[in-house]
């Protein structure tokens, strides 16, 4: 079948295909985008349990609203093209018009995608610099919320396969559970004793890797009292899947009572504890090799 029939006379099809696609796309986008932002936006993760979480919800809503018209464009285009330009069996091998290029379309496409991309990057950077968005920023954070020097510090220590917490503002005591006071700005200093873990408090919008020998800083402003799940989000060995806990945001008075109780518990073991430090090098290192 080495036949290459020539095309039908060029320009035979004068229907306004382009205009139809663009109009259908505009109508669909103008309807769909607000609907997505209004109805899908509020249920996007991670929820409003913290200021950082709320910021991420806004961020996710903007991103979803931005990609909606893109999705609509391709949807409309492909539905139209794949139905309208379907080959009839009799003329299946007839060639289409030899369109090789169109500078206007190329330039428009490049300009529009570039503008969208640069706006997304600008928006993301702006959001990030507000308060760090709950992400781990390493030992010398850049996106620092105002008043960071006076914030409550909590050290999160990942170890195979558990999390423990130290409160340097309360004598460096170490606890098995994470309690945070409500409506408080907290600095989380995340580190690890062995391999890489990742501290993920999903509902609070916090994720920070726990690296051995590194102090990974994340900022968090809590809202009202609630419990939240903590998981490890970086594969850390055998019981990675079981490395979860429940953390608590509690009223100020309850937090004060809890921390007092923990201080009492810690008093008896205080002299065995390593001095509070931004990172630890336990000895001996576990080493299989």
């Amino acid at each position: 079948m080495a036949t290459h029939p020539t095309t039908a006379a060029p320009g035979a099809d004068r229907a306004p295909h382009g205009r139809r696609v663009i109009v259908a796309w505009l109508v669909l986008s103008i309807v769909a985008t607000p609907l997505v932002a209004i109805f899908l936006g509020p249920i996007l993760p991670p929820g409003n349990a913290s200021v950082q979480g709320s910021g991420q919800v806004v961020d996710n809503t903007v991103l979803t609203a931005t990609i909606t018209p893109v999705f609509c464009l391709l949807l409309v285009f492909f539905v139209y093209v794949l139905t309208r330009f379907r080959a009839a069996p009799a003329t299946a091998l007839e060639d289409g018009p030899p369109l090789r290029n169109h500078n206007g379309i190329q330039v428009t496409w490049i300009v529009v995608t570039t503008v969208v991309v640069l706006s997304l990057a600008g928006f993301g950077t702006f959001e990030l610099l507000q308060n760090g968005s709950g992400g781990g920023q390493g030992p010398s954070p850049v996106a620092v919320p105002a008043g960071a020097d006076h914030m409550m510090q909590v050290q999160v220590i990942g170890q195979q396969w558990n999390w423990t917490y130290r409160y340097p503002g309360y004598g460096g005591i170490e606890t098995q559970d994470l309690y945070l006071p409500e409506n408080t700005y907290v600095v989380l200093n995340v580190t690890s004793l062995d391999v890489i873990h990742s501290f993920w408090a999903y509902a609070l919008g916090v994720k920070a890797d726990a690296n051995p020998g590194v102090d990974n800083v994340a900022y968090l402003k809590t809202k009202g009292p609630r419990s939240f799940e903590i998981r490890c989000a970086e594969l850390c060995g055998l019981w990675h899947g079981y490395m979860y806990q429940t953390g608590h945001i509690v009223p100020q008075s309850q937090f004060a009572a809890w921390i007092k109780q923990q201080q009492t518990l810690n008093a008896s073991i205080a002299r065995y504890m390593p001095k509070y430090s931004r990172s630890y090098y336990p000895d001996p290192q576990r080493r299989g090799g």
Binding site: R231, A233, H240, R287
Partner: protein, 629 residues
């Protein structure tokens, strides 16, 4: 052209003696034991002095290296260099081998290597897929364990490594090796023996990865993060050796492709007439040749840390786990474009044939492929946004990651405008190409969330990112892999595949694929971490849905395998030389393609996309006369 003077078949047992796969396996096993006992004899006394005899990593590593050397020797890879050292003239005798036996030997015919790759990669693809089925079996229940925890991690790791390691050559191995010399009008690849070497190294690597189960498996997943890597048992060495060998294979494959495409194009095949598939292969090969060596070096450091107690990645001794993360992703992000770019090229190569129109915006398409190839070097830290890297750099990596969607968009607009006002035939390969648009669109749009640092805080390391890269890699690479099979296998084997069975396979796979991975976006958004064996009870319904869909997806692949083998082995419907009425040169050659491809080297006068621009150019002008390679 060819050649075998005598057509008398010796008895089977006689044909098994010589340099072939059987000898390779025997010498491979022998080499393994030589390495094992050799290293043991040297190292054991000192180890027993330190009371650490159970952890003799050195023996294991040298055993595997001895095995690889034995395997390659048995296949005959040392014959040629030794003959040259002894003063014999250069030749390509391996190319003239005939019969089925050549698929089990060192053969330097690029068409044989292509078919070897197709079956070899296919085998490991199915092993990887089987592991995916086991993963989804485990995740049917939120907490109940089907597999022991360590076994589950090994399954996850083998699935990931197998897919990311073997499938990097999924298009370039079978299809580029087979087609690039044809498309550029050459009789062979630039380095035919290296071409064969890449394949056999890859097979050795795949087997080594599988043997990890005898050494306790490995707990790190396909990324092999430090320092968990150092802490792991000996199964980890299998992962390291596997990926290092894959890296060596990729580097050689990449260099071979670059040199072939740059230096061996026939007269008249200017850069603007090169088939877009060759551009895709070139941009991928550049990434392979430059990125894979980083992987080999990184894994060598990891191996030293494990075997000879260096401290590149041990924080307490002055090393850094960030060093590994960065080095790994310097390789790892180009790696994912090594997987994706051939898919772009295949889609752009096939759309003109099935829309009966020239490729729209050829130069833009080339710019897109090369642009992705270039930009993919500057985005790797988006894999470690929340790891505590230098915070100043995150806006830069956010920007560079989002910039890469511009050249990716070039592929989209060129493909879309090629379809525009075309005469579209819904053949099986075309359906797979159209599915690419849908899958890669969802993959790309979900990538927007992962590239945006605030949004990535939640989506990183969750099932959302897992769904994202399955949409881009399985939806992008594997769908185009099947498009390529349905499109080119008739040319490669001379056997036509059934359109009806192909379409059943397509719709089954397409629906099952989307039913499997679309819910994973939701599961990730709802907070399920990757690679964790437990999940929230509230997510069980979605996970069960995904598991059942995944089984359907697995069955669709089994359906493909069964129909494919059945048609090739039993139906054997002869294929026309040009079943798709393509203007590309490989379809102007007879099926199957003769050993030396062209009687006369063709002279090109246009690109292969001139649909609607008059009769196809003749491909057999008075070029250079036929000759030996």
């Amino acid at each position: 052209m060819s050649t075998m003077a005598v057509d008398v078949h010796p008895p089977v047992w006689r044909r098994l003696i010589g340099f072939n796969l059987l000898t390779g396996v025997i010498l491979g096993v022998g080499g393994w034991y030589v390495g094992w006992f050799g290293a043991h004899a040297v190292v054991a006394p000192s180890l027993s002095f330190f009371g650490d005899i159970d952890f003799n990593e050195l023996s294991l590593v040298l055993a595997y290296l001895g095995g690889v050397v034995g395997f390659l020797t048995g296949l005959g890879f040392l014959n040629y260099p030794l003959a040259r050292l002894r003063g014999y003239p250069s030749s390509l005798r391996e190319k003239e081998t005939q019969g089925v036996g050549r698929y089990f030997t060192l053969c330097t015919d690029h068409k044989v290597v292509g078919i070897q790759y197709l079956w070899g990669i296919g085998l490991f693809f199915f092993i990887g897929g089987l592991n995916a089925m086991l993963i989804r079996t485990e995740l049917l229940r939120p907490a109940h364990q089907v597999f022991p925890a360590g076994t589950y991690l090994t399954i996850v790791g083998v699935h990931g490594s197998m897919m990311m390691g073997m499938m990097t050559s999924g298009i370039l191995g079978p299809f580029a090796n087979y087609l690039i010399p044809l498309m550029i009008g050459a009789r062979r690849m630039a380095f035919p023996r290296i071409e064969a070497l890449t394949f056999w190294i890859l097979m050795a690597a795949g087997v080594i990865l599988q043997t990890t189960i005898f050494w306790g498996g490995f707990p790190t997943g396909w990324t092999g993060y430090e320092p968990l890597n150092i802490e792991a048992y000996q199964g980890m060495d299998c992962y390291i050796l596997f990926f290092a060998l894959v890296g060596i294979s990729m580097t050689l494959l990449g260099i071979n492709m670059i040199v072939t495409i740059v230096t061996m194009r026939a007269p008249g095949l200017t850069w603007t007439r090169l088939p877009i598939f060759a551009w895709g292969v070139l941009s991928t090969a550049i990434l392979m040749a430059l990125a894979a060596p980083v992987l080999v070096c990184t894994l060598s450091l990891a191996l030293f840390d494990r075997v000879v107690q260096t401290n590149f990645f041990v924080a307490a001794q002055g090393g850094s786990s960030y060093l590994y993360e960065n080095l790994f992703w310097v390789f790892g992000h180009p790696e994912v474009y090594i997987l994706a770019l051939p898919g772009f090229a295949i889609v752009l190569e096939m759309l003109p044939v099935f829309a009966r129109k020239p490729l729209w915006g050829y130069r833009l398409a080339v710019a897109g492929l090369l642009g992705v190839s270039l930009l993919s070097w500057f985005v790797w830290q988006h894999h470690i946004f929340v790891s505590g890297i230098n915070g100043d750099l995150r806006p830069f990596y956010m920007l560079s990651t989002e910039l890469i969607s511009i050249p990716t968009g070039f592929t989209f607009i060129c493909g879309m405008m090629t379809l525009w006002r075309g005469n579209i035939r819904y053949t099986t390969p075309m359906l797979f190409c159209l599915a690419w648009f849908f899958n890669f669109l969802l993959g790309g749009l979900s990538g927007v969330f992962l590239s945006d640092v605030p949004s990535d805080v939640t989506t990183h390391g969750s099932f959302f990112s897992m769904a994202h890269f399955h949409y881009t890699i399985m939806g992008g690479l594997v769908f185009t892999f099947f498009a390529a099979i349905y499109y080119w296998v008739p040319k490669m084997t001379g056997i036509q595949l059934s359109e009806r069975l192909g379409k059943i396979h397509f719709w089954w796979m397409f629906l099952a694929f989307n039913s499997t991975f679309a819910p994973l976006f939701a599961i990730g958004f709802l907070g399920q971490p990757r690679r964790a064996v437990t999940y929230a009870k509230s997510l069980q319904f979605l996970n069960d849905w995904v598991s059942v869909s995944a089984f359907a997806l697995g069955l669709s692949l089994l359906f493909f395998l069964a129909t494919f083998v059945y048609q090739l082995a039993f139906v054997k419907k002869p294929a026309e030389a040009n079943p798709w009425a393509s203007r590309s040169i490989e379809f102007q050659l007879p099926s199957p393609v003769p050993v030396h491809n062209f009687d006369r080297i063709p002279v090109f006068s246009s690109d292969p996309y001139g649909y609607g621009e008059g009769p196809a150019p003749s491909w057999t002008p008075a070029g250079a006369p036929a000759g030996r390679d």
